[in-house]
């Protein structure tokens, strides 16, 4: 029971991050490898605000604001000038942005890990199993966030515009949709999700360092690819699947040392059988 809840809650954290990858890929057609480092910036924002005022909720708010502004600026300064450039150039730029953010964090906060105590939870007892309060909170809030995102994308005019840009950028422009604005919005949403992910990640591992974003970033990227990159429900399913597998493996002593290998092995197996991921669509060739 507790393994299930912990696994699901780690899974929804991955899902939040994976949504950032998948939405940016779907709409801007680029892999934003600096996305993991947005989580790191979010975590440091929490850390710094806590150090200044000691209150958790302002810290979360600051993290969201900082991440959204950062996401929008990175898109504006680094990626927008490359619109229409070769995908490789964009990819290398994204890796550059990633190193830049890590270096800036190291300059400001130093390389040493710092401890962050956000909330303290008392474990909840149900029958004879104990469930972590942090996991339950993570699970609850993330489900609400993902439900809200799904409604936003599928039910609002702006959400439809995002789907339209994702499917056919040229045709979307002919509808009067400002593609640059939609891409900016996508980066803003992805970064806000990353900020929330950073908060929950701190509940899971209460420590910050400049490369904190790499591992969850890579795992969430894997989750996005497993689910079918570009697909919003795919990112959610991929994230939850990966979180469950990771948690289960870590609790089985024989498997624990191989957890990461198993996760990435799963990616390879799924890509062998479904090259576009679980929910990915095969792109139809244009006539």
């Amino acid at each position: 029971m507790s393994t299930l809840i912990d696994g699901l809650s780690l899974g929804v954290i991955y899902a939040l991050i994976a949504l950032g990858y998948t939405m940016v890929y779907g709409i801007a057609k680029m892999l934003n490898f600096a996305h993991g480092d947005i989580i790191m910036v979010g975590a440091y924002s929490v850390f710094a605000t806590l150090a200044l005022c000691g209150l958790a909720f302002p810290a979360i708010l600051v993290a969201v604001i900082v991440c959204v502004l950062l996401g929008i600026s990175v898109e504006r300064v680094a990626y927008r000038p490359l619109r229409g450039a070769s995908p490789l150039a964009v990819l290398i730029t994204a890796i550059g942005v990633s190193y830049l953010l890590q270096s800036i964090a190291q300059l400001i906060f130093g390389a040493k890990p710092r401890t962050v105590e956000l909330f303290s939870f008392t474990p909840i007892r149900i029958g004879n199993s104990t469930i972590s309060g942090a996991s339950l909170l993570t699970l609850g809030v993330c489900i609400v966030i993902m439900a809200a995102l799904t409604l936003f994308v599928n039910r609002t005019k702006t959400g439809h515009a995002m789907l339209a840009v994702s499917e056919d950028r040229g045709a979307a422009q002919l509808m009067g949709i400002n593609v640059n604005r939609i891409i900016m919005l996508t980066f803003a949403i992805g970064s806000a999700l990353a900020a929330f992910a950073s908060v929950f990640y701190l509940l899971y591992i209460p420590s910050v360092n400049p490369t904190l974003g790499s591992m969850p970033g890579i795992k969430a990227f894997t989750a996005a690819v497993i689910g079918g990159i570009g697909s919003i429900p795919g990112a959610m399913i991929g994230g939850v699947l990966l979180g469950l597998i990771e948690t289960i493996c870590l609790r089985v002593p024989a498997l624990a040392p191989f957890t990461t290998s198993i996760e990435f092995g799963l990616l390879i197996v799924i890509l062998l059988f479904k090259p576009t991921g679980l929910l990915g669509k095969r792109r139809r060739e244009k006539v």
């Binding site: 789907l163 339209a164 040229g170 045709a171 422009q173 002919l174 509808m175 006539v287």
Partner: protein
């Protein structure tokens, strides 16, 4: 004064000059056809008008304003809508979602719904299928949807790029009838077609495009009866 006035338009793809100085105009209320063989540059002109691709030279005036460098998405609220080649409806969205996206730049919900009702009245099949995913429609229905989607923005000028492409003969004549109806209800039409015969039959005026330059112009009737045009485009 012309609603659309294009002067000295030049477009290149890298070192290749696709459009080499083209002038044409479309007057209020007209149907103007741009005909030519594959590769003559018809679609290139359509894309350049809406700034989906860049121009090397030339000037485009629309409704008294210089739109040479205005980005595509700002042209829609000015009254210029385009149905692109190959229809390019949003395959994964429903019919009604496609139509509402056509009215993306309009604000008044009541007016949008009124236009939607007009569309549904003209094409009952679209109303019947409003909840259906657009990718599941037949080619002809998709073309109806693409044209209706463009009309949802209430354009002054409708640009149609190869509306008859890939359709069955029955649907082709349907589409040409539809173009005439749209024109009668007050929308000016610029039509790009390979199907020269039918395009010329409904056009007030037409231009013949040959490898990036305009080789001939006249009324639809004149060109239909022109011997060289008959030989080149109408099968003798």
């Amino acid at each position: 004064m012309a609603l659309l006035e294009v002067t000295g338009l030049e477009v290149s793809y890298g070192p290749i000059k696709a459009i080499r100085g083209v002038d044409f105009s479309v007057n209020q209320g007209e149907i103007v056809a741009l005909i030519g063989a594959n590769g003559a540059g018809k679609t290139t002109i359509m894309h350049a008008l809406c700034n989906l691709i860049g121009k090397q030279a030339g000037k485009v005036m629309f409704d008294g304003q210089d739109i040479t460098a205005i980005p595509a998405h700002k042209l829609v609220p000015m009254g210029m809508a385009q149905v692109p080649e190959g229809r390019r409806i949003f395959q994964e969205l429903t019919v009604s979602e496609n139509l509402t996206l056509g009215a993306y730049t309009r604000k008044d919900k009541a007016e949008i719904n009124a236009t939607l009702e007009e569309v549904y009245q003209r094409f009952p099949i679209l109303k019947e299928r409003q909840k259906q995913i657009a990718g599941t429609l037949s080619g002809g229905e998709q073309q109806m949807l693409a044209m209706s989607r463009a009309l949802m923005s209430h354009p002054k000028l409708l640009l149609l790029d190869e509306p008859s492409m890939g359709l069955s003969p029955l649907y082709v004549s349907n589409i040409f009838e539809m173009i005439q109806e749209v024109n009668k209800s007050g929308t000016t039409v610029l039509l790009v077609e390979q199907n020269a015969k039918q395009a010329l039959a409904i056009a007030n005026r037409a231009y013949v495009l040959e490898i990036g330059v305009i080789s001939k112009t006249g009324t639809g009737k004149e060109l239909l009866n022109d011997d060289s045009i008959r030989r080149a485009y109408l099968g003798g």
